[in-house]
Symmetry: C2
DNA sequence: CCAAAAGTGTTGAAATTACACCCATGT
DNA sequence: ACATGGGTGTAATTTCAACACTTTTGG
């Protein structure tokens, strides 16, 4: 890659990406935060991030760092927005692209996460983070709430097999309010993208709750038709 | 601004911004496109954009170039997303942040626009644009449709005084479908953010249509309460 | 047999859609 | 007088919200 003349008069800067990683654990929505072991800001808490290299896209960079830390690949991730205030990074002009990720909290590699000094925190108990990272988390949370109205995000945050009570508690965690189980079930089942399995989850009640899984095919069909999922 | 050691091992690149500028003219939604007079891609069509300088934020950069070309200031603008494919710009690695703007088509400085070789095109008649600019326009259009459901964007696209038939035709242009005028009126008036004026617009009918204006105060109150405007 | 969570229907209120005619006015 | 776009109300349908009891089963 070589640089054309008419570009050289312009300014170059760093581009980074920071990942707002949501996980859902036992009825509680959590965020993966880590304690920095390298400069700058050693010892402070921050999101997981990286500079973007010339030969990778921004989402590549995010996937790369996410894989390094959680061991996960093919994680659902979406761009949030850029954080580009001139003085946001005291070191040098650096634009960061926030990306939020949804992971299945039972999938990730606990040792790896621990080795990097990362920990799960609930939204309410977040420590102060470096730079504008607290703002990023707030923005991501707001986005998640909005997104959950239109798309079955349970698909990304729950294990492949999940129960309706689990799905409901995910939505309750996102919206921070109790929902009526009859109405909730009616609604989510009406979309016709859930397949009921024979098997029951007996870990949380004696009666047991039936497992469901997503019908990806039907889901894609509906999306293609422009149908929204509003819960 | 000086550069810390631990940054120097990373890659710097260019950041640009491209503006997807919507205007609403006489029942038709249009986009401001210009024919490039400078390298690279002289003679081809593109969105209006600029490189971001070290000492300005991305939205500053967009405002700057928008002002240069339309003469307008304080234009409504919002970040769309980044366009960051490694090879998107053949000159050098350059990430572009798309921003869409809504302008009152009767406000802009026609001479200035013409001097820069810019022209209004409807969405359906867009020429081929450079790089990924056609994609940007599509994304912006999709965003606008979604946004129009939640916020009274008429506020940005229409002149200060406007009639309900005008507002309706704006929504019809955005959603590309006819709406029922009784239902439309009922809905938009129910929000209570429109103030009916004494004056009538007689340019499009003999009977004349009453002008309305937005009640900004009430609008802000409602937004603060988290109320949505769904049309 | 009992505690604890899963599962299930109905009813009233609210919002949305469909639909057709009169009004005001410049020519 | 008439053509043109502006303005108005009601009824049917759909969607949403509120609400309580029965089922299952491990201990």
């Amino acid at each position: 890659m070589w640089e054309k003349d008419y570009y050289e008069v312009h300014d170059k800067m760093y581009i980074g990406t920071d990942c707002i990683i949501f996980g859902f654990d036992n009825g509680v929505l959590k965020l993966l935060i880590f304690k920095r072991r390298i400069e700058p800001n050693v010892g402070e808490y921050s999101l997981i991030g990286s500079f973007v290299k010339l030969e990778e896209s921004i989402s590549n960079a995010a996937s790369r760092v996410l894989h390094e830390i959680t061991g996960l690949q093919n994680v659902f991730m979406e761009e949030l927005k850029t954080y580009n205030a001139v003085e946001r990074d005291p070191g040098f002009r650096c634009v960061s692209v926030g990306q939020y990720a949804l992971i299945r909290i039972d999938d990730y590699d606990k040792d790896l996460v621990e080795k990097h000094g990362a920990m799960w925190y609930t939204f309410d108990e977040l420590p102060d983070l470096v730079l504008d990272h607290n703002q990023m988390v707030e923005d991501a949370m707001a986005r998640l709430r909005r997104k959950a109205k239109y798309q079955p995000i349970g698909l990304e945050l729950l294990p492949e097999k999940f129960t309706l009570p689990q799905l409901q508690s995910l939505y309750e965690a996102i919206y921070q309010r109790k929902m009526d189980s009859r109405n909730f079930r009616k609604k989510v089942l009406s979309f016709g993208v859930l397949i009921k399995l024979e098997e029951k989850d007996k870990t949380s009640s004696r009666k047991g709750a039936f497992y469901y899984k997503f019908d990806y095919e039907k889901y894609k069909e509906l999306l293609a038709q422009g149908i929204y999922f509003v819960v």
